[in-house]
Symmetry: D2
Subunit: 327 residues, 4 copies
């Protein structure tokens, strides 16, 4: 392994709050260790097009509190082709970038994994996604902000639900994972939470509503977009048929869940992992994602990180907890 | 006119932030003037069903900062019938309530107007609606909070738009009025604002996008739900056809716009108007809405308040302003 | 009057939320009218040191939502001297800047007034200060954000006050003006509000507390820093002496009141006034502040704007309102 | 051990966001397990004065999102006396309360420990304090909200610091523990963080400022109130002497750090621990605090929880991290 002198950093996939804090930490840690650091614009797209900018302390001043990513992000089909990756490698060589930090989710790591093996190129990944659906880290960068955004939005909806004695079905992000729905659902005191990891028949939901407190007409049901019942609109239709006298409303939170100032937790996590990525590269780590598990930094091979079996976090105990609290 | 000794207060129609501050002010002002004050639950429904609760200082403690309405609200068909109103009048007589403060929007005032004339009953209305679509007041209670909610939501969406170079079409409330769209659109720095009061052909919108800054790919278009182009999804379809390479996303903000802690402005407006309503009743005002125009309290007959020609606030000058700023 | 081709813009005095929105509007309006526009850094300091940067659409992209001022600000002693102003004039001539928009408060306008007369130089001012203490505008840019910041901070303090049955004395900004205290005090439902414009003897305050609701132990008193009673600590000492058994706490909100994302209202006001300033200059306005009074744009000579007699906004009626609401 | 049929719940010590979510969870879990549940007002004070209220589902409706504590809290000297505790025990017996959940910090648990041993009374504690200074839990209820409050406040201050090129010294809570300062300091991107656990000589701080980036004049220094340098004012005086030309400002955040809506994390933690406390009591747990360590629920004897050696969380690695990031 040749000594690393210039680290490239990019963000890829959907943007997540805290990505800027992670970029800042990668830059600061590189400077601290007297390395050069290069920003790569628009994810793998920028690798292929040599869209590179040199970075220093000033480039990352006053960005820790900003949502989105100053390096911009994109999904990139060309990087899935051999030609695309060859071009990317050429550009890295030409610019004398000898290691990468890639910040993103499973798509990002899948690409990184192929490239790292193909060219024996040192890459450390950082988990930057609001979905918290990666193995090898208790929390992904952006998740804590996203669940707070959901909670604040549903608190507002609760005002209307209470005032009108309405039932609201709120759809939150999570195509494959119910973690946003589960935590935010507990956080808003939802009367029911529907997630892909737990089969909740709509008939059970109906029974639950029938058995609920008679003195409380307003209800909030949180549904992950990937729930097998088919999202908020489908759940709404089923309930309307069963409860024609209920005043049922649907709210799909949508894109507001991605943006916003990161929470303190996301900033600290991103900062810590950003430094760990640089120091990991210096110690010879490669082909791995840096994560935080039980308060410690650990490195997980890309293939392990994207396995998507976050069973630890959606246990029967958590589902039971949600049930007890929604009585 | 017999002397007023007991004022009833109700909220009706869609809930709006600041309604609680208005209720509190009505209660406090009534106590200050040594009147009894009675809360009526669920709007006109509660009038018809005699759903009354006596109120004192404690009933309204610590509610000034809460969204929604502690008196609850509903839309009520029965109050549109002669029988319903007769029942309501009987209940008021039985409970010795001799004046009403009704907080709501045009539906609320339409009902109040009929009832006030039918029974010669003193009623003062307060403009409680996020739409700001009433004559006789520069601002309705809830509007300022709603536009801030929109602005905060779109700021989040802007993070994603910037990070991905996307065009977002954001639909905000306003079936008949574009005031929420216009002010919040200026507030977020939208590239275009589409409102029912101004015919923006989609072809003009397309021209505008084509002529926009080349160095800025991300764009925000704010559309009022009542715009003649048919809401965000229709605008989106037209743009997608014209710009197949653009990454266009739709966000319908929906119900989050109604709730939340009221802003300082809404709390102060609601407090001031609540006191004015009580003092107005004591001075013999009836069949009118209390509003604030050019910093002064004025009273406008219900029929005038619901005329919906808020021409003063959506002038050509404001539309020109939006255009200049979106360059 | 020679035709204006290049407008300089600066911010001066204490920073206020919305200054960036105002800068953006000045730049956009200048570009719209095909003028050059030059940013002047650090207020009058930058004038004297020729710290100028050319501005275009990109310079002001994505700043409408940011607190502070991208042009930076400073208080500048040198501009009070004839030599300083001579240097400033020379720099303007050399850079062919032929008009100025200055954004700030009374100190800013005092300087602008002298300079404008001395050199017959066209200047339009924009009211940028959280204090709302200028004549010729109903609202200054930053005020609405500041009172919301205060309200949000005191809402937090209210949680503790309620939980512990404590009396909190909260000091807010306002050396000469009680407008922040008055509006935010009404907004938080304060039990008493102490401002320089109204002499509230501490003995009256004590009487009021003694006569207050017996069932409500927690209280919030909002004090403007410039109140003649001498700020929160002095009020606290007097009350502690009188009520030894009370649990009294002091909170001085301080610098958090200046910063933060501007509210929608402040962004719209700043945007509208920024455009008005540029168009005013083009129409030959000079030596005036652009303000908004009763929804209309008006221009007030600098000398009139800084008179500080905002009697219209702190009337006996407002003080009475505060008293009624705090029962 | 007799079977538990009626659980008393109280909050004691300083209020913390999330206490209401914890109370709600204790009530819901009790109802789920078909137990009676009794609210005890004002902490141990209410125990001694038999200030008890029966609680049901409705008592805790719509409180999960509210700061403070609906059961109120107080510090209570009488509970430190044998007589006080005897009275408390009598009241519990009379009201047939046969177990307690106490929510608070080390003072609360010290009292609970004595009482539990004296009367062999089953008590489970929940860590409710913003300081995060208890052993046996990674996070205390309220800490996550508090650090976000600090971060949001300092973000505002940063706006002013940037605009004026100022150095701000911000004092945050933490008499014995620097955890609030450390995490929030990293979160705001502070140039230096001063905490009781790490001796930072002011001379080192001066050296650091002298060696800092020359192109960045604005700086934020976060100081824990318990730092050995003596709080923000003392640090400020030392720096002013050394850097007479610097524009140095002090901000003591104070009481706003305690209140506010709890974050999602605090609501979920409080909910989970509240259920765990009830289920722990039913399984025979007593004299212990329920905490969350490495994602698992664990129970720690009171004596162990209040040891205050949270060495795990302020390690040299964290201090190094803060240093690297503040370059």
């Amino acid at each position: 392994m040749s000594k690393i002198k210039n680290i490239g950093v990019l963000t890829s996939g959907g943007d997540a709050p805290g990505m800027n804090a992670a970029i800042r930490a990668v830059v600061r840690a590189s400077l601290y260790h007297e390395l050069k650091v290069t920003g790569i614009l628009r994810g793998y797209d920028g690798l292929i097009n040599a869209d590179f900018i040199p970075m220093d302390g000033k480039s990352v001043a006053n960005i820790i509190q900003r949502g989105g990513t100053v390096l911009k992000t994109a999904r990139c089909d060309a990087f899935r082709t051999k030609e695309g990756r060859a071009k990317a490698y050429d550009n890295l060589k030409k610019s004398e970038i000898d290691a990468l930090v890639v910040i993103g989710g499973d798509g990002t790591f899948t690409g990184a994994n192929v490239f790292a093996q193909e060219y024996d190129f040192p890459i450390v990944g950082l988990p930057g996604t609001i979905d918290n659906d990666l193995m090898g880290t208790d929390l992904t960068i952006g998740y804590d902000t996203a669940i707070n955004t959901v909670v604040n939005a549903v608190d507002r909806i609760r005002d209307t639900a209470e005032s009108h004695d309405r039932l609201f079905i709120v759809e939150v992000m999570g195509r494959d994972s119910g973690l946003i729905a589960l935590r935010s659902g507990i956080g808003v005191g939802a009367e029911a939470i529907m997630i892909p990891e737990a089969k909740t028949a709509v008939s059970d939901l109906i029974k639950r509503i029938e058995n609920g407190r008679k003195d409380k007409a307003s209800k909030i049901i949180v549904v992950a977009e990937g729930d097998e019942a088919g999202g908020a609109y489908n759940v709404g239709k089923a309930l309307e048929k069963k409860f024609p006298n209920y005043d049922i409303r649907i709210s799909v939170l949508g894109h507001i869940q991605r943006g916003g100032k990161p929470t303190c937790m996301d900033r600290v996590l991103a900062s810590r992992l950003g430094v760990a990525a640089v120091e990991g590269l210096l110690e010879g780590k490669a082909g791995v994602m840096a994560g935080q598990v039980n308060k410690e930094i650990i490195f997980t091979p890309f293939a392990g990180a994207i396995k998507h079996i976050n069973a630890e976090q959606i246990t029967p105990a958590w589902l039971k907890l949600a049930e007890i609290l929604s009585m």
